[in-house]
């Protein structure tokens, strides 16, 4: 039972982390390796607004979501637009952006126990034999809600459909009147904002450490790659597999094996089926 509860919360955490990354890299095909950095930046911005400027929590959360979203948009408009189409240069540019953000934040010293975001409601509840704090329940709820939202968004709304269109075939999308630059910029912006949302839900469970900027990117990559980058059900299945896998490994072996399992899963899936378990779009492009 304990295993099940931890497994579920861990899986939903992974899914939450992967959603925004998958929206940009998977669904609209823009590589955003600055994802972990945005997650971190959002958390720290919220902390700064609350504790140094004194804005109430919800307002500062909304402001930081908006700011990081805008930052993502301008990252695309200012930098990525020049590199569009050269997928590898996009990766290099966003990875470099991530390093700039994370290392500057590390230099400014935003790490440690002083930097804690508030939980939505304090306290915990007993399920079976184990105590679960309310924040984790919120996390599961918000995670499931966001997955449903993302599925509806990419399948029912016009913007969501155009995201998927430019990923499947950019030229055809342009000929159907979709402005591919605008759509790609929007997707980067939405993905970055989702990173902050995930951060605001997950970060209260611990203190902020700049290293998570890299770790979050790895988790997001792992879930995205294992599940298949463009597929929302894929994210769900992959985060269940990885989430339970990590918990099982941590319970029966050592906690450090978690990361090894995640990384090994990425390498194996990339070697065997690079588009992931549920991926379909890019099977022809990714290998010869």
């Amino acid at each position: 039972m304990e295993l099940f509860i931890y497994g579920i919360t861990n899986s939903v955490t992974l899914a939450l982390i992967a959603l925004g990354f998958s929206l940009t890299f998977g669904i609209s095909g823009v590589a955003n390796f600055a994802y972990g950095a945005f997650y971190l930046l959002g958390g720290i911005l919220t902390w700064v607004f609350m504790n140094q400027i004194g804005i109430p929590y919800f307002l500062s959360a909304i402001i930081s979501i908006g700011m990081v979203g805008l930052f993502g948009f301008f990252l695309y408009w200012g930098l990525m637009l020049r590199l569009r189409g050269l997928a590898v240069n996009e990766v290099i540019a966003t990875l470099a952006t991530a390093i700039v953000i994370i290392e500057v934040l590390r230099y400014l010293g935003f790490s440690g126990f002083t930097y804690v975001l508030p939980e939505f409601i304090k306290g915990s509840v007993q399920i079976g034999k184990s105590w679960v704090d309310y924040q984790r329940i919120f996390l599961v709820g918000i995670g499931i809600g966001l997955i449903i939202f993302l599925y509806l968004f990419t399948h029912k709304t016009k913007i969501g459909l155009s995201f998927r269109a430019i990923s499947q075939n950019e030229r055809t999308a342009i000929s159907l009147g979709i402005d591919s630059d605008w759509t790609a910029a929007l997707s980067l912006s939405f993905g970055s904002a989702l990173a902050v949302v995930a951060g605001l839900v997950i970060l209260p469970l611990g203190s902020i450490d700049t290293q998570i900027g890299y770790d979050i990117l790895l988790s997001a990559l792992a879930v995205g790659i294992v599940g298949g980058l463009e597929s929302v059900p894929g994210i769900l299945v992959a985060s269940l597999i990885l989430g339970f896998g990590q918990i099982v490994v941590a319970t029966f072996f050592k906690a450090q094996w978690q990361t090894v399992v995640t990384l090994a899963a990425i390498v194996i899936i990339l070697a065997v089926k690079p588009s992931g378990i549920f991926g379909k779009y890019k099977e022809l492009e990714e290998r010869v």
């Binding site: 930098l79 590898v88 390093i99 290392e103 990425i266 990339l270």
Partner: protein, 337 residues
Amino acid sequence: MAEAIKYRKERIDRGIKARSDTIYMLSSYRELLYLLLPRILPISFLLLVPLWVGGGYWGKVIFYSCTFALLALSWDLLASVGLISLGQALFFGVGSYVAGGFNYYLKWPIFLTIPVATLGGALICTLLLIPVLRLRGVYFSMVTLILPLLFDHLIETLEILGGTHGLLSLSPFPNHWLADYIAIGAVILCLFGFRRLLHEDYGFVLRGIREDDRVVMAGGINIYWYKAQTIFLSAAVGCFAGALMTHYYQFVGRSAFALDNTILPLAGVVLGGSGNFAGSVLGTFILVPLSEALRALGGLRMALYSLILITALAILPEGLFHYFERKYHQFERLVSV
């Protein structure tokens, strides 16, 4: 619309380039010099600079620049078959640990560990990457980004090869001149060797694979075999750099797999310009001394490299070397439209 454009820029090869393009037409010392100068200048610079700075701090900087230049050259070779690596740290780390391991556990002398690390490390890296040879573009890059992290965590978790402490007190080089000149010799050899290689028939196949792999396959050439060979060669250079650094520091630890060892060579290549090897050497020889001068910044150095990387990508995507090369070979003038 803007005003109608009256002039456009025209680029024409200098006469001297046209005359000296084929070696048979050299007719003056000036033309000879035009061809030789760009080759002799960097060689003599590399050979003389250790004599000038001597040992000490800046001698160390020259050594670092050479090892990172080797990593950048290895990156550029991989890129010339279209394999974009984000994990030079993999080659560097494997080379470091093979050299360090043999020296630490078996007490092999330094002139044995370095060749073994070069060839053995290259073999290990090639075997690791063979399963993903079929991947293209970003997917290959992601595998190479993950692998060094995986090794880093494996060493930490399994506590093998010294675990988090690393392997200490390995044998040093007999003196710093030897270390410097081995590194410099390797840079010169790789620089001119790779440039020649890519202009041989073999290199045409490699460049063909980068341009359009399916056409090369249709030509009846086994592209996987060529890719594997290139990875071996490139990994050998990277592992050699790692082994040199290990014995120079007399230490190998998990930092060998760190992201720095990927980002620095990459920033060097992007700044200098990829595709002709000279750019990678130029870029690293600008960046490494610059970063040593900025050592006071501490942790911000990684941020600085990345910033240079972004700026170079956005403003001068062709790289410094291509720019200078163009100025050397061609002149520009405005002509009316």
